[in-house]
């Protein structure tokens, strides 16, 4: 075997793992890697403007494509700038592999220039991490890193590469297979549990499927669709699972939880069986936990045993892959009609649709609906965090998995724009929108330079209300309207900022201008920023206040 340096082995690993795009930012401790990349024309590298964006872009790439996203940063501040991105990917179970430079092994622990203990810092926000101390172990570690990131419940893996390790050579081969004695993911559901689950499903009159992001990472949308239709069970999805089940299907209840639909939440409260699949009973889903689904038995299918009975006591747990378990459950169940239940749900849908006051000024919901209409619901929608995220979740009709990309668990403002860059690189033929707020967009606004330089045609739709809108909404409802430090209006002029970066900027002030502006943006081949100056005090409805039960929703419109 020919000797290769650590940096060359890294390039070999990327090639063998099928990585053709990486996102990164050069720095002193990764120069050998960048030198090796110089000779690797098949690996395309996007140089971002802040390492955080590299990690979010790798994450967005992974969510849009289902492949592992890769990012590179230098030691010290480069590595610590990845932290928010890794925590975001960890909370939402996204397969990302991050490579960080590190000071030479002989200097570790000496407080050397640009040294940070990044493995120590990221223990609790990575699925696993490695500090490579021996060049002969590097090939195995790289192989394991990709394997761990994408298998079982996916997640980010960080590999910390001291500079001397990048430079020294070894003839240790890149392994063909992975064998980790302490990591044996469990994919097949227990047949006894599946039989029991099938009986419960057949015995239930008012079941609801509560589908989470696990459906998307498992690639089990089709299996979910067939299982739900076979048994005539309504399906509600979490934010992470938007698109896992088509929202234009009669069985769809759209999203549940704090800003879910009334009919989804009512269905949960009256259900006699909850079939949770690839979800984790987050507090934004359950509301007051003791009042969650009071009449229901809880069935929970998940690849991660720790997700089961963590927040809610589960009656029928099944550990395994939804893609394997759902077809087996379908085969064992009878396919009941459940007409009374569907009549009841249809009445709720009729009575409590998502709505807003269409006639009063420029409404964010209208913008989202127009984006849906003009893209035929086929765009990839990335979001920032806050009101923009909830309106994007509620008023677009998601019909395909991997078409909604958002930081759900960590709720990272500044995620959407770099994630949109990653999504667009991964799926160059699709239309990619970042539905943003004026607050969130400014958290990674420097990436306008990246989209401009590489002509990445992401469309940024800023729902600009000059507020940190979700916090303002909480202050309005729960803090007597005392708007403490949330008014961020008037700065900057987003159109001028976009233009300064060489990106087309469009301002929209009236409802009547929305369609033309979006059509114009879609006709432009490059990136576009549209500054929608929306009704400043529009709220997200309905809303379950913190610590209330799911049916105790408040609404702006009677």
């Amino acid at each position: 075997m020919k000797k290769r340096t650590g940096a060359e082995i890294l390039i070999e690993a990327l090639t063998k793992e099928g990585v053709d795009n990486v996102f990164g930012y050069p720095g002193g401790a990764v120069i050998p890697i960048y030198d090796a990349l110089y000779d690797a024309p098949r690996i395309s590298h996007i140089t971002v403007r802040h390492e955080q964006a590299a990690c979010h872009a790798a994450d967005g790439y992974a969510r849009a494509t289902g492949r592992v996203g890769v990012c590179i940063a230098t030691s010290g501040p480069g590595a610590t700038n990845l932290v928010t991105g890794l925590a975001t990917a960890y909370m939402d179970s996204v397969p990302v592999v991050a490579f960080t430079g590190q000071v030479p092994t002989s200097m570790i622990g000496n407080d050397a220039f640009q040294e940070a203990n990044i493995t120590g810092i990221t223990y609790s926000i990575t699925k696993h991490n490695y500090l490579v101390k021996d060049i002969d172990e590097l090939p195995r570690i790289l192989k394991e890193a990709f394997y761990i990131a994408r298998t079982a419940r996916p997640g980010p893996v960080l590999v910390d590469l001291p500079k001397d390790i990048q430079n020294v050579a070894t003839d240790a081969p890149y392994p063909e297979e992975v064998k980790i004695r302490s990591y044996n993911p469990h994919y097949e559901g227990n047949p006894k549990q599946i039989n029991l689950a099938a009986q419960e499903i057949d015995g239930s009159e008012r079941p609801v499927i509560y589908a989470g992001g696990g459906i998307i990472s498992s690639g089990a949308s089709r299996e979910l669709y067939e299982f739900a239709h076979h048994n005539n069970i309504p399906v509600t999805t979490t934010l992470m699972a938007l698109g896992a089940f088509p929202e234009n299907d009669p069985l769809s209840l759209k999203m549940l939880g704090m800003h879910g639909t009334r009919y989804a939440n009512y269905a949960i409260m009256e259900a006699d069986l909850i079939v949770a699949v690839g979800a984790r009973f987050d507090d934004r889903i359950t509301g007051k936990i003791s009042a969650f689904a009071p009449e229901a038995k809880i069935m929970h299918i998940d690849i991660d045993p720790t997700a089961i009975s963590k927040n809610v006591k589960v009656d029928i747990p099944i550990v395994g892959d939804a893609k394997d378990i759902l077809p087996r459950l379908k085969a064992l169940t009878k396919g009941k009609q459940r007409e009374d239940w569907h009549r009841k749900i249809a009445a709720w849908k009729e009575k409590y649709p998502l709505k807003y006051d269409k006639d009063k000024g420029l409404k964010p919901q209208f913008v989202v609906q127009k984006i849906c209409e003009l893209t035929g619901g086929k765009a990839i929608i990335c979001t920032e965090v806050g009101q923009n995220q909830m309106w994007a979740a509620q008023f677009y009709c998601y019909t395909h998995p991997r078409s909604f990309i958002s930081s759900g668990g960590l709720g990272t403002m500044g995620y959407g724009f770099p994630a949109a860059i990653g999504a667009q690189i991964g799926r160059p033929d699709d239309i990619v929108f970042d539905i943003a707020g004026d607050g969130s967009f400014q958290m990674n606004i420097q990436e306008l330079s990246t989209v401009s330089r590489y002509k990445i045609p992401v469309k940024v739709a800023i729902l600009n209300n000059g507020y940190l809108g979700m916090v303002r909404q909480w202050q309005q409802f729960f803090y007597k309207g005392r708007y403490s430090q949330v008014d961020i209006s008037s700065i900057p002029d987003f159109v001028k900022v976009a233009e300064a970066y060489g990106v087309k900027g469009i301002r929209v002030e009236k409802k009547e201008e929305v369609e033309a502006a979006l059509k114009k943006a879609l006709s432009i081949k490059g990136p576009v920023v549209i500054d929608f100056q929306i009704d400043r005090e529009e709220n997200v409805y309905p809303m379950v206040p913190a610590d209330a039960a799911l049916h105790e929703m408040i609404d702006g419109l009677a």
Binding site: T119, S124, K133, I148, S182, T306, K310
Partner: protein
């Protein structure tokens, strides 16, 4: 709250203890005692820990430990037939008549006197929880100056066929 005795086999690798400590602190789990050492296989370390918690907490502790990539095996030994031992070193005030009393206690508890000073005696004792608790209860009135304990180690008993 029940104290659980949990035995964890891990890869004998750099940073594993930090990973476990990080998990416990991130999830808000407590540890009463912790003993770590290499096993008969030098690539594996065994960690024996005593963890207080109700059933739900302990279930999460065990599952979360299993989820760590470098953790090979986790067993809750609580309620199972096990051999458990702990070693303590205890320094007690020992003047006049008390010296005889301490030496008598040492004999009864099969403790060894490992350091002798005109004012104190230091005892080494190994045993299960009851034995150590028993000795300490009797020594405390005499004045315990220093106490150090290894934390429990445990093995499940081998079944006789």
């Amino acid at each position: 709250m029940v104290k659980h005795l949990i035995s964890v086999e891990v890869e004998n690798r750099f940073g594993i203890l930090a990973r476990i400590a990080s998990l416990f602190s991130a999830r808000g789990f407590n540890i009463d005692s912790l003993a770590v050492g290499e096993t008969e296989d030098s690539t594996i370390s065994r960690i024996t820990m005593v963890v207080p918690g109700d059933d739900q907490v302990i279930e999460q502790v065990i599952k979360q430990l299993r989820k760590l990539i470098d953790v090979i095996k986790v067993v809750d030994l609580t309620g199972q037939p096990t051999v458990t031992r702990e070693l303590i070193l205890v320094r007690v005030n020992a003047r006049g008549k008390d010296r005889d009393e301490i030496m008598r206690l040492a004999e009864i508890f099969r403790a060894r006197i490992v350091d002798v000073h005109p004012e104190s005696l230091t005892l080494e004792v190994t045993g299960n929880e009851e034995k150590i608790k028993g000795l300490l209860t009797l020594l405390r009135p005499l004045g315990v100056k220093k106490l150090v304990r290894t934390g429990k180690v445990a093995l499940s008993r081998e079944m006789k066929s």
